[in-house]
């Protein structure tokens, strides 16, 4: 049995598909003249296979994407694509692999040197084709993530965001990774789609083999290879129990989000893509507290246009049928990179050029997004939320850009919601400490616990060695949360929370006690959170929060909160 960290509950049975980072070694060999024919043939055959694969993929695609694929296909079929490669074999006597490497690189170089940014980034397309051709030459098996066999369990070192975005969730029964924490994007996506997931499984890609029949327990983090009948039965029982819990939670779909003594709160969902709004609604989310707009940017090879963003925001707000949808403006930088932005590497990316800082600097990008949000606001109740605000100046500057966009739309005669609400994330201690001042100049707060914890205790989220120090139970974190909520209430605005902590049943009583108004979480946590809230008494929660806020250690806080919820 292997063990890791269960990050998305549930039981999964299936066959392993390993996603390996490719480690190929391209050797430079000198071939004899007599071998040239053979090497040329290998290149042509490999390229033809790539062309055939692409044609197959195109069968299921229509619209703009199909046009782009068509252009891509024509590039592959253009004889000048491999002219340099052929020369490298014919004139320099290189082996096929090395010839492809140098030949395609020289084509990519031509694009890279172009001053037009769009064209320069086409060099990536050429390099992508090169990689696929090399993959064929090395007879590597490639996996089409969009079309998986039923009951696939994905095993990888770590999934990239673009890989996660492509995943064929209908056929995945589990995800196992070697790296990644509870709050990595893979974990968040797995929870949204209710797919069991386990991270931090040492050497998983080496121990597990393609096709292995395994069973995983996303709650305990246990992985069984060729599970025995007994083990299977245990998991089936657990699955049944989870299923029963799910059925039991179903009845909370009809309940209001209110405490025993009548204090009403809002239960919202966090989403990444417009389609996630359907999952949110299905779980009776009363709104969307966090639309992570960066996924639209990460999903694309180029900066998404105003039009494509408008379509996405409009889709989300229409799915939510009049319920509020809070869109967080681009939160990129830190651990989230956009290749086409060509951000410089920084020594401390989390303390660097990211989110609102980047947007205020690159107003072209910011305005495109704000215009798209404003236009979509004509179709429902949208709100705008700025991430990474650390000072009042940033809030004012961001609002100024928003005003400019509104004026532009006024001049163009385009409709939008003139009373669109503008809020900020409280995720930097400096913002929490001046919350009362910030609250006077915006319409709502949403506390981002993931970053707030990281910045308060000075622990990088992804760093395994110090992950124990990263805890929401730290009394300093709780004091900052209180500061934010009190600040909001002093100006009569709403305070929400969109970090993972908002959906944690152990933490909810404390948040109710502190007076949090809106809880935004993964869709699959909503019903459980409602059940928790229905069983709480707000006065008991207030007492609990007064008690906890004066504690001196995280351990003490955690113990007390667990004790409180277990008595319920």
């Amino acid at each position: 049995m292997l063990k890791g960290n269960g990050v998305s509950t549930g039981v999964g049975f299936g066959n392993v598909v390993i996603l390996k980072k490719l480690e190929r070694k391209i050797e430079k060999k000198t071939i004899r003249d007599a071998q040239k024919e053979q090497e040329l043939k290998r290149v042509h055959e490999a390229l033809q296979e790539v062309i055939n694969d692409t044609e197959n993929q195109m069968k299921n695609i229509t619209g703009t994407e199909a046009d782009i694929m068509q252009a891509y296909l024509m590039i592959m079929q253009d004889p000048s694509l491999i002219a340099e490669t052929e020369n490298a074999i014919k004139n320099s006597n290189y082996n096929a692999e090395y010839a492809v490497e140098v030949g395609f690189n020289s084509v990519a170089q031509i694009f890279e040197n172009m001053d037009d940014k769009y064209m320069a980034s086409r060099s990536r397309d050429i390099l992508d084709i090169k990689n696929r051709v090399l993959g064929k030459l090395f007879k590597e098996e490639t996996i089409d993530l969009t079309k998986l066999n039923p009951n696939t369990i994905i095993v990888a070192e770590e999934l990239t965001t673009s890989e996660t975005a492509k995943l064929d969730f209908n056929n995945i029964s589990g995800i196992v990774t070697e790296l990644g924490g509870e709050n990595s994007h893979t974990s968040i996506m797995a929870r949204t789609h209710a797919i069991p997931a386990i991270t931090k499984v040492k050497d998983a890609t080496k121990i597990l083999k393609n096709g292995d029949s395994i069973a995983i327990n996303g709650t305990s983090g246990e992985i069984y290879i060729n599970p025995t009948e007994e083990e299977k039965q245990k998991l089936i029982d657990l699955e049944k129990q989870l299923e029963e819990e799910k059925v039991e939670l179903e009845k909370y779909k009809k309940q209001e989000s209110v405490t025993r003594d009548g204090i009403k709160v809002k239960l919202y969902a966090n989403i990444g893509l417009p389609a996630d709004a359907k999952i949110a609604l299905n779980n009776t989310a009363e709104g969307v507290g966090l639309f992570r707009s960066e996924f639209l940017y990460m999903d694309s090879d180029t900066m998404p246009s105003e039009e494509s963003q408008f379509t996405a925001y409009k889709e989300a707000v229409q799915i939510m049928e009049g319920r509020e949808v809070i869109i967080r403006t681009l939160d990129i930088g830190g651990d989230k990179d956009l290749k086409y932005l060509e951000l410089e590497k920084e020594a401390n990316p989390f303390l660097g050029y990211r989110a609102i800082r980047l947007c205020l600097d690159r107003q072209d990008i910011f305005k495109t997004q704000l215009r798209a949000i404003l236009r979509a606001s004509a179709f429902g109740k949208l709100a705008i939320m700025f991430p990474m605000i650390s000072s009042i100046d940033e809030l004012r500057a961001a609002k100024e850009v928003l005003e400019e966009c509104k004026k532009e739309l006024d001049n163009e005669g385009i409709e939008y919601d003139k009373n669109i609400q503008v809020g900020i994330m409280i995720e930097i201690p400096s913002a929490a400490l001046i919350a009362d001042k910030l609250a006077k100049e915006c319409d709502f707060f949403s506390i981002g616990t993931n970053d707030l914890i990281q910045y308060t205790v000075a622990v990088e989220r992804g760093n395994e060695k110090i992950s124990k120090l990263y805890t929401k139970y730290h009394p300093a974190v709780i004091q900052l949360i209180k500061k934010a909520i009190d600040g909001a209430h002093s100006a009569n605005i709403i305070c929400g929370m969109c970090g993972e902590a908002a959906g944690d049943s152990t933490f909810i009583p404390l948040l109710v006690g502190l007076g949090l108004d809106e809880f935004s979480m993964n869709s699959n946590s909503i019903l459980r959170a409602r059940k928790t809230i229905n069983n709480l008494d707000s006065k008991e929660c207030s007492k609990l929060s007064e008690e906890v806020i004066n504690m001196s250690s995280a351990e003490e806080v955690e113990k007390r909160l667990k004790e409180f919820i277990n008595q319920k």
Binding site: D67, I68, Q70, A71, Y72, M74, I75, D78, P79, S80, L81, V107, I110, F111, M114, D115, D116, Y118, M119, R122
Partner: protein, 87 residues
């Protein structure tokens, strides 16, 4: 051999999609079709050649067709440019 000049009116230049349309159209003719842009000669049947020329908005392009269907080729390709290849 027939020639004519046009100015590119695609605001975003000859990107992948219009470039592929141009190459596709050019390939339907038997004539050799060349574009002369900024002192460079481009084979209009090669999408890579077109794209890597980085032809921008408002650039003057000379189209040269040579072969049995040169007249038709020239007029169709001019028409393609005028319609911005369906962009």
């Amino acid at each position: 051999m027939v020639k004519d000049k046009i100015v590119l009116t695609n605001e975003t230049g000859l990107h992948a999609r219009p470039a592929s349309e141009l190459a596709k159209l050019a390939a339907t003719f038997k004539s050799t079709i060349k574009l002369y842009v900024n002192g460079k000669t481009i084979d209009a049947k090669s999408i890579l050649a077109i794209m890597s020329a980085g032809i921008k908005y408002n650039t003057e392009i000379e189209i040269e067709c040579d072969g049995e269907d040169e007249e038709k080729a020239l007029s169709e390709i001019k028409k393609g440019f005028e319609n911005n290849f369906g962009e």
